[in-house]
Subunit: 347 residues, 4 copies
C-alpha cells in the first residue's frame, strides 16, 4: 500500500474526497439549540420532504450512517433468511462488505459473472428452477448497482426489464445507489426516472461519494415494505442519535441541484481522463465511461511508479487493469497533471 498522501487529490476513490462546502455550511447552520434525537426533529422532516420531491410523495425514507449499513438493512427489510439475493459478482454487497449481507440477513448471495458490472434477466432466469424446493434458497431479491462498480450505467429500459421480471416472479429489485447521482447525471435523467418510475423497490441512496461527510438513505418505493424498518434500523445499529446533522447534509445535497452538479462534474472529469488516456499508446480504456469511474489497462511495470504519486487501485492483477475514480472536487488541472505523469512514466 502506498504511503498516505495528506491532501493531494488522488484517483483512488470518490470517498477519498472531503465534504462539499455547501454541505459543511448546512451542518454548521443546523448546530443550534436542542432538538429531539433519533430523527423526530424539523431538520429531518424537511429532508424527507425533499426526498419525496425527488422520488415521489409515496416513498418512505430512512437515514442511516453509511452505505454498507444501507444495503444490508434495506435487504434485511425485504428478505427472510432462506431467501437468495441475486447480484453481479462485482457487486459491492458481494465482494466489498466483508460478508455483512450474509451475516445480518442470513441469506445466500447468488452472484453472476459480468464484463461490465451489469446483470441480465437471461442470467437470472435459471435460478427460478429452485423455486418451491426446500433444499434450495429461494430467489427473492435482484440487487444491482447504479452506477455499477465498473463505471457503467443501466439504461432505464434495462432497469424496467429487471423489475418486470422480478415482480412477475415474486421477487423485488434492490438498487445500491452509492453512486446513483452519477448514474442520473450520466443518463441526464431525474432520480425518479431511474428508480421509482422503473419500479425499483428499495434503494440505497448514497451521499458520501457525492460530497457528504457521512449518511445514506434507505428508500422504499412501496410503503408496505417499510412497515417494520424502524425496528430493523435500530436493531441494525444504524439509528443516528443526532440525526439532524445527516438530514441537513441531505437537504443541502438535494437543494439547488447540488447532487447533480457534483455528479456531473465528476462524470465530466472521468470523461476527460478517459479521453486523454485513450491517446496514450500503451493504455487501453476497458469500460464505457458512463459515470465517474475509468477502467484502463496499463503495462504492469509502470503501475507502482504511478502509485507513488497518485493513489489508485489495481482492479485486476491478472489483466493489469486499474481503476481511476473522479469526484466532485477533481479539477481539469488534476487530470492534466496526472495524464502528464502517465505519459512521462510510460515513455
Amino acid at each position: 500500500m502506498p504511503t498516505k498522501p495528506k491532501s493531494k487529490r488522488s484517483f483512488a476513490s470518490d470517498n477519498n474526497a472531503g465534504v462539499h462546502p455547501k454541505v459543511l455550511e448546512a451542518i454548521a447552520a443546523t448546530n443550534e439549540g436542542h432538538v429531539v434525537a433519533y430523527g423526530d426533529d424539523p431538520y429531518t422532516d424537511a429532508a424527507v420532504v425533499l426526498f419525496r420531491k425527488h422520488f415521489g410523495k409515496e416513498v418512505e425514507v430512512y437515514f442511516v450512517f453509511g452505505g454498507t449499513g444501507a444495503n444490508v438493512l434495506g435487504l434485511k427489510a425485504v428478505t427472510e433468511p432462506f431467501h437468495a439475493i441475486i447480484c453481479a459478482d462485482t457487486a459491492h454487497i458481494n465482494v466489498d462488505e466483508c460478508g455483512a449481507p450474509e451475516k445480518f440477513t442470513g441469506c445466500k448471495l447468488l452472484s453472476l459473472p459480468t464484463n461490465d458490472g451489469k446483470i441480465t434477466v437471461d442470467q437470472i432466469r435459471p435460478f427460478l428452477n429452485a423455486v418451491g424446493f426446500e433444499h434450495h434458497v429461494q430467489p427473492r431479491v435482484i440487487s444491482i448497482s447504479q452506477s455499477t462498480e465498473m463505471g457503467t450505467v443501466y439504461q432505464p429500459r434495462e432497469l424496467k426489464k429487471l423489475s418486470d421480471f422480478a415482480h412477475k416472479n415474486e421477487m423485488l429489485l434492490h438498487m445500491d445507489g452509492a453512486r446513483i447521482a452519477n448514474a442520473a447525471a450520466g443518463l441526464k435523467a431525474s432520480l425518479r426516472a431511474i428508480t421509482g418510475d422503473v419500479d425499483v423497490d428499495v434503494l440505497s441512496f448514497g451521499g458520501a461519494k457525492n460530497g457528504m461527510m457521512y449518511g445514506e438513505a434507505v428508500i422504499f418505493f412501496d410503503r408496505g415494505l417499510a412497515k417494520n424498518f424502524k425496528y430493523t434500523r435500530k436493531q441494525g445499529t444504524h439509528l443516528p442519535s443526532k440525526m439532524r446533522f445527516i438530514s441537513a447534509q441531505f437537504s443541502a445535497l438535494l437543494s439547488n441541484d447540488l447532487w447533480r452538479k457534483n455528479a456531473e462534474h465528476a462524470n465530466s472529469m472521468a470523461k476527460l481522463l478517459a479521453q486523454e488516456l485513450g491517446r496514450i499508446p500503451l493504455v487501453e480504456v476497458t469500460q464505457k465511461v458512463e459515470s465517474n469511474g475509468v477502467f484502463a489497462r496499463l503495462p504492469k511495470r509502470y503501475i507502482a511508479a504511478l502509485q507513488k504519486q497518485y493513489f489508485f487501485y489495481v482492479w485486476n492483477e491478472q489483466t493489469s487493469e486499474v481503476r481511476f475514480m473522479t469526484s466532485f472536487d477533481t479539477t481539469p488541472q488534476d487530470i492534466r497533471a496526472f495524464v502528464a505523469l502517465i505519459k512521462k512514466t510510460l515513455r
Copy 2:
C-alpha cells in the same frame, strides 16, 4: 410524545444537544484535499495517538459510527454465540438497543435487578453454576455502564472488584462508556484510572453525548482481543469511509481537556438542578447525582404540563419517576427557568 421544539434546550437527553463549537471547527479544519478512506489517514493516526495518551499506549482503538454499534461490536469481538453477557436490567444494551446485541452476537443477555444501575459480584456469582453445562449459556462478559443509566457512577474499587471476579472466572469486563466522560469528571479521575487501570477489557468510548456530532470508539485494553476486530467492524457495517471526520472530532475532544470540561459542566448543571429540585416540597430526587442525570419523583398529574414546555422522559410510569439529563451546553439560566416552571406548576 410532546411536539418537537426546535431550539430550546431540553432536559430530555444529552444527545438532544448540538455539537460543541470546537468539535465543529475541527471538522471544518479537516476538510481539505484527499486522504485515503477507511482510516488509513493522518487524522486518524493522530487521534489514535491521543487515545493512547489517555488510555495507555498498549490500547487498540477503532472508531465506529455510533454507540449501539460500539457496544454490539465490542461484545461480538469477545464472545461466541453460546456465551452469556451479564448486565444490569437497566443497561442500554438490555433495554434500549432493540435486541441488537442478541441479533449480532447470538448471545443471551442475563440481566440483574438494581436500584441504582450498578451490579455487584454477589449478584453475578450464581451464574457460575452454569459453567461447563452445555444446556446453559456460558457466562463470558460482565457489561456495565459507566456512568450508569441511573446517573450513578462505579467507584474505581467497585470496578476492580468486578474485573477481578471476571478474570478469575474466565470472563471479561465490558464497559459501556457512552457517558464515561461524565463518570471520570464526577470521580475527578483520569479516563485511564477508571478503565485500563482497574482492568476493564473492552470499552465503548462515547462522543455524541459529550459534544460530538457522531462517532464512538471501541477500545481494547488487551491487544489480543482486537485481533480480528477490523473484520468484525466492517462486517458489522461500522467502517466509516470518510473516517477523518470522526477522528478530527475525537482529537478535538481529547485535546485541551475539552472532554473533561464538557462533562464537568454538564455534571455541575445536574447537581444544581438536583439541589433546586430538592427544595421543592412535592419533588423527590431518587438517585445519587454523580454524573449528568437527575432522577426525580413528581406528582403524576403535573408531568404533561411540564413536558409541554420542556421535553424530558418519564422513566417509570408506575412510580411517576422522571429523568432529567443535562449536557455540555446547559446553562444555569436553563436550570433556573425550568425550576421556576416546576415550582409554578406544582403550586
Copy 3:
C-alpha cells in the same frame, strides 16, 4: 455427577427411559423397500392424518428431529429478529437450550419470575409499554410450557386467557409441549382441548419424553403461519432424510391412545411417589403434582447418598429442592424401592 447406571430406572428424567415397545415395533414395520426421502412418503402422510384427527383438520404439521429444534424453528416461523418472546424464567427455551432461541431467531427472551412455572397476563401486560418504540424489542410471542418445567399444568381457561390477551395485542401463543401428553392426561382433556380449542397458535408436540426414540412435531393451528416453514425447517437443519421412521413413531403414539396411556401411567407414578414422600417427615413436596414430575425439599446432607443409587437432579442448590421425573416405564415397585431407600437414608 454420579456414575452412569446402565439399566436401572432412575428418576432423573423421562428422557432417560428407552423406547416404548409399540413404537419400536412400528419402526421395524416401516423398514421395507424404498420411499421418497424428506417426508414425501405414505408413512408421513398417514401420520399427518392422525395428527389432524387429534388436533383438527386444518392444522399444518411438520416433523423435526428434536425438542429444541421444534421450539426454535416454531418460534422463528412467527417472529422477526426485533421481536421479543415472553416466557417463564424456568422455561426450557430460557434456561435449557444454550441460547438456541436467541441465536436462531435473533429475538430477545423476556423472562418472568414464577413459583410454579406458570405465567399470567398481569405479568405480561407491562411489556406492552414498549410497543411502537424502536429502541425496544417488540413483544410478539408468549411462550408457555404445558406441562410446565415444574410439573404443573395450565387449566384450559388459563390458556384461553393467555391466548385472548396475545391476540388482542397482536401477539401469538406458543406452547412448548415436550410433555403435553402428560398435561392432557392430567387434565383428562383431549389434545385439541388444550391447544387449538383454546387458540394456541404454534405447538411443539413432544415424542421423546413419552416413549418415542426421537422426533418432535411443530404444529401450526393457523395455516398462514406455516407458509414458509418448510424452508425454515430445512435451513434450520431439521429436515430428516429418512422421515418415515419419525412418522411411524408418531403414528404408533397417536394410535390406540398410546400417547395417553403412557402419560397417564407416568402421571400416576408421580402421584404415588408424591404421596409416599408426603409421609416422610423430613421431606416436603413443593409443587402440585399435576403431571409426571415431583419436586421436593430434602435435607441436603442426604442427597449425595441417594444419588449414588438413583440418578436424579438437584433443582435448586440453595433451597435443597430436587426433581423426580417418572416415565412410561416406571413401575410401582420402582417407587416403593426408591421410597424405601429414602426412608432408610433419612432415618
Copy 4:
C-alpha cells in the same frame, strides 16, 4: 414429481433406502432400562471407542441428528462470521442446504465451478488475495465432499495437496463425508487413510446414506478445534436426548466392517449399472463411477416414462443429465430390471 412408490427400490437416492437389519437389531438391543440422556451413557462411550479405532485415538467425536446439522455445526466450530468457506459449486453445503451454512455461521460461501465435483488448489489460490483486507471475507475453510456429489472420489494425494495448501495458509480442511464410506470402499482405503492421515481437520461422518436410520458424527482430528463444540452442538439444536440410539447404530456400522460391506455393495451396483448403461446406444455415462452414483445423459423425451416406474432425479435439465444412486440394498436384479426397462423404453 412422480407419485410416491411405497416399497420398490428406486435409484433416486441412497436415503430412500431403509435401515440395514443389523442396525435395527442394534437399536432394539439398546432398548433396555434407563441411561443418562444426552450422551453420558455406556452405549455412547462404546461408539466413541470404535470411532477412535477407525480414525485415531486422538479424535474428538460428537453425534448429531443429521447431515446438514453435521456440516453446519462442524463449520461453525472453526469459523468466525467474517470468514469464507470455499467449496465446489456442486457442494451439498452450497446448493442443497437452503442456506443453512450462511444462516448459522454467518460466513460467505465462495464456490468454484467443477466438472466432476472436485476442486483444486489452483482454483483456490486467487482467494488469498483477499487475506488481510477488511473489505473482504477471509478465507478460512476449504470444504470438500468425499465422495463428491458427482460420484467421484478424491485420491489421498489430492486430499493431502488440499490440506497442505490449507494449513500453509492458515486455513482448515473440512470434509462432508455423507458418503465417505463409499469413497473409502472405492479407494480400497481405510477411513483414516483418507481423513486424519491426509490431515483433514473436521469431518462430517454420514450414517443415513449407508444403512442407518438417522445420526451423523462430527469428527475433529485436532482436539483443540472441538474445545467448545458441545455448546455449539446444543445451541445448534443437535444434542439428541436419547443419544444411545444413535450410538448403537454407529457401533453396528463400525463393527465387523458393516460400513465397508454396505458401501462396497452399493458401489458395485453402481459399477454394474454404469456398465450396462454404457452398452445402450442412446445413453452416455458422463462421470467416472468411483462410488455409488451414476450420472448419465439420456434423450430427454424418455425420462418421464422411466420416472413413472423408477424414481430418480434429473440432475441437469439443460444437458438432459440424470443421476442414479445405488444403496446397500440395491440388488443385481434391480439393476437388470431397470436396465431392461431403459432399453425397452429407448428402443
